[in-house]
């Protein structure tokens, strides 16, 4: 159970400095963040953060307790072991030639990825999915020459109508 990836969903007050309070907590206590995303939540004035953190069980428990101590944090849920939907979006700028362009288009089709920008020598591919899907997509495109990648980091919600209190 060492260094398992945990997905923590955190509901916070939408106030300036909140992201810094949270990221500061991680760095000063030596917790490892894989990714952190934030955006407005369902209620005005609140934001939802999805934090992917690596660690064993006691570490992740400590992460959650420390998060909960922050006055601006309303709810902390570990959704790793609950049925959840976890997605990430990546934009991948890949080099193409007249010859390889159809090949790349074929390649991305099974991934339900789409092309969102086309130029003479490159394409921007947009892919949405869990981390392994995005990694697979990147590996397939790498031989063609990846120029730039932008990834959002994961966002996650519990499945069904439950919202699980913490």
């Amino acid at each position: 159970m060492k260094n398992v990836k945990n997905v923590i969903s955190v509901l916070v007050n939408d106030q300036s400095g909140v992201l810094s309070r949270i990221s500061g907590l991680f760095s000063r206590r030596g917790f490892n963040i894989d990714s952190i995303t934030v955006g407005p939540a369902e209620e005005v004035g609140l934001s939802r953060m999805t934090i992917v953190v690596r660690g064993d069980e006691p570490t992740v428990e400590q992460v959650m307790k420390q998060l909960h101590k922050l006055i601006d944090v309303i709810k902390v849920i570990n959704i790793t072991h609950e049925p959840n939907v976890t997605r990430e979006l990546a934009l991948i700028k890949v080099m193409v030639t007249a010859n390889t362009r159809p090949e790349v288009l074929n390649l991305i089709e099974p991934f339900r990825a789409s092309v969102v920008d086309v130029s003479r020598n490159s394409l921007i591919v947009q892919v949405v999915g869990d981390e392994s899907k995005i990694t697979a997509m990147l590996e397939l495109l790498r031989p063609y020459g990846i120029k730039e990648v932008a990834r959002t980091g994961v966002v996650s919600l519990l499945r069904g109508t439950t919202t699980k209190d913490s």
């Binding site: 007050n13 300036s16 400095g17 810094s20 309070r21 500061g24 907590l25 000063r28 006691p58 428990e61 400590q62 307790k65 420390q66 909960h68 101590k69 922050l70 006055i71 601006d72 944090v73 309303i74 709810k75």
Partner: protein
């Protein structure tokens, strides 16, 4: 926002006045601070407000004094400083209060909102800087936020696990005008400390106590913050359970009681440390398993079931996992526990700890005419009948004080336990003496520590604060010197002082009476004289430089590696 109509202007007050009004509404009667550009408006409002203000000589002195005042009175300490350097000078004091869970509200000035983020004169991002060392902090950019923020700040500082809260006011907020009304109550959706313990856990706790053959209570600073000494006394005395204290827990249980085995940890007593090592049930009441207490983690209390009670859930399982975790206020927990507690049949264990206690008392060399620091503290303890309020700085003198002064009450001993802040003692003693004027207050310091905030002698002189400052002068940075002797082959790198001031003359320069002793006889005599004198005074004790603090469990070592000093 400027006052628009002359008609309504009368009912409006400015932001600075509002800050002072809020302090009054919170029942604050004494504040500590230091004025400056960005906070001048608040100082102007303070001028004829009736609020008492103690002007320190350095912002760090002001905040440690507020800390000492808070610890001595149980109220929230208030400290005011200006922007930039004023605010950053508070940082050490804020971190000190944060580590020891002391309720403080720090009010700082900030540059005007139009200048925020421009590296303006005396601008520092103090909310950013203090994020990791405050329980919470605020940047106030509009007058309408003031009442809510002040109300929340005091609420957060004093409830749950207490701690420092900082409020940074942009300069222009001080001149904005608005009508004032102070909220009656606080609602912070995300902040609901747990006071009442889980009943099932209390039953479990009662059960393990009943089953224990070698139970031991460990009291921490949380015991003092929750004011639960009476309840602890009942539980321990009814069940006959021996008690050990952490440094911050000293005084929560009477030090002179036969059940008390003294302090545990790095410089704890042999009895306390053996008891922890041998116990089969360790009841941790409000301590956080600091590394100075536990030493080597996986060797700590290795035969014991661990019960951990704390109001802060994040402390439970942080360093040592608990078999029975209980989140709640100790007063409530112990009240609930009392109903289930009966006398335990643990005579064998009682005999064992009594033996350790009588066989291995704390000792130092006496009778050779040399003045030893332990003797000084021992004598101060005797001559004050263990009843003085004691503040210390950090180092050897601090550990000797914890060993040789007997603390029988909570809130009798003030020291920077968590952060270990040199320079804490003198200003903290000022705050403590002002908070409890009826009690004799003594600051015990070292020649190194005292020089870190010695400018506060001026504050003492100005207000004739009748505290006694005892300086144990060994001409060295004693604790570091001790470590260098033991672990660095006596390479005394930068720990032997040269160029000391004459402390007696220095005190006299501040118009403070001063004494010096170099022998045990002189020491006794000047302690008598100082205690009989009504005003402030400074006592310098020129003590043996080579004295070390024992017992000593080297950092990260198990209890078996304890050095007793008499080998």
């Amino acid at each position: 926002m400027s006052a628009s109509g002359a008609k309504t202007e009368k009912e409006k007050i400015n932001g600075a006045q509002m800050v002072i009004e809020c302090l009054k509404q919170e029942g604050v009667d004494l504040v500590f601070g230091y004025p400056g550009g960005a906070i001048m408006k608040v100082y102007d409002a303070l001028y004829d407000s009736g609020l008492k203000h103690i002007l320190a000589r350095h912002e760090q002195g002001a905040i440690h004094a507020a800390d000492g005042y808070a610890r001595a009175t149980g109220k929230v300490g208030v400290c005011i400083a200006t922007s930039g350097p004023g605010a950053t000078n508070l940082v050490t004091g804020i971190a000190t209060a944060y580590m020891d869970s002391v309720p403080l509200v720090c009010i700082t000035g900030q540059v005007g909102t139009d200048l925020l983020g421009t590296d303006a004169f005396q601008e520092a991002d103090i909310t950013g800087i203090t994020m990791p060392i405050t329980k919470h902090n605020y940047l106030v950019k509009h007058i309408k936020e003031i009442p809510r923020v002040m109300k929340e700040a005091f609420h957060i500082a004093r409830t749950g696990r207490p701690g420092p809260v900082l409020i940074d006011f942009c300069k222009d907020v001080g001149v904005q005008l608005a009508e004032f009304s102070y909220p009656d109550s606080v609602y912070i959706r995300s902040y609901n400390p747990t006071y009442a313990p889980n009943k099932g856990q209390i039953k479990k706790l009662a059960k393990v106590i009943k089953e224990a053959k070698k139970p031991l209570i460990m009291t921490g600073g949380g015991m003092i913050r929750s004011n639960a000494s009476n309840e602890l006394y009942k539980v321990a005395k009814t069940a006959n359970i021996p008690v050990v204290s952490t440094f911050n827990g000293l005084g929560a249980f009477p030090g002179s009681d036969e059940l008390h085995l003294g302090m545990l940890g790095m410089h704890g007593t042999i009895a306390a440390n053996w008891a922890v090592n041998e116990c089969d049930l360790l009841l941790n009441f409000g301590a956080r398993f600091d590394d100075r207490v536990t030493g080597k983690l996986d060797e700590f209390a290795k035969h014991a079931k661990i019960v951990h009670v704390d109001i802060d859930p994040a402390e439970i399982g942080k360093n040592i996992s608990a078999h029975i975790p209980i989140v709640g206020d100790l007063k409530n927990v112990l009240e609930a526990l009392i109903e289930h507690v009966e006398p335990l049949d643990i005579e064998e264990w009682r005999t064992q700890v009594k033996f350790w206690k009588s066989e291995y008392p704390l000792t130092y060399l006496k009778g050779d005419g040399k003045l030893r620091p332990q003797f000084v503290i021992d004598t101060i303890c005797q001559k004050t009948d263990s009843k003085a309020i004691i503040a210390t700085d950090v180092g050897q003198h601090q550990m000797w004080t914890s060993q040789y002064y007997t603390f029988n009450e909570a809130n009798q001993f003030f020291s920077s336990g968590g952060l270990g802040t040199m320079g804490y003692g003198l200003p903290a003693a000022i705050g403590a003496q002002l908070g409890r004027p009826e009690r004799q207050t003594i600051c015990i310091s070292g020649d190194g520590s005292v020089q870190m905030n010695i400018q506060e002698l001026a504050t003492i002189s100005e207000h004739q604060i009748p505290l006694k400052l005892a300086i144990l002068n060994n001409g060295a940075l004693g604790m570091v010197r001790q470590w260098q002797e033991m672990f660095f082959q006596k390479r005394y790198s930068q720990t032997i002082f040269k160029g000391h001031p004459d402390f007696v003359k220095l005190a006299e320069a501040y118009s403070i009476k001063a004494f010096r002793a170099t022998t045990p006889e002189e020491a006794e005599q000047i302690i008598d004289e100082a205690l009989a004198f009504e005003g402030p005074c400074v006592l310098e004790f020129v003590v043996e430089q080579s004295e070390n603090v024992f017992p000593f469990i080297p950092p990260g070592a198990p209890v078996e590696n304890m050095m007793r000093g008499d080998e």
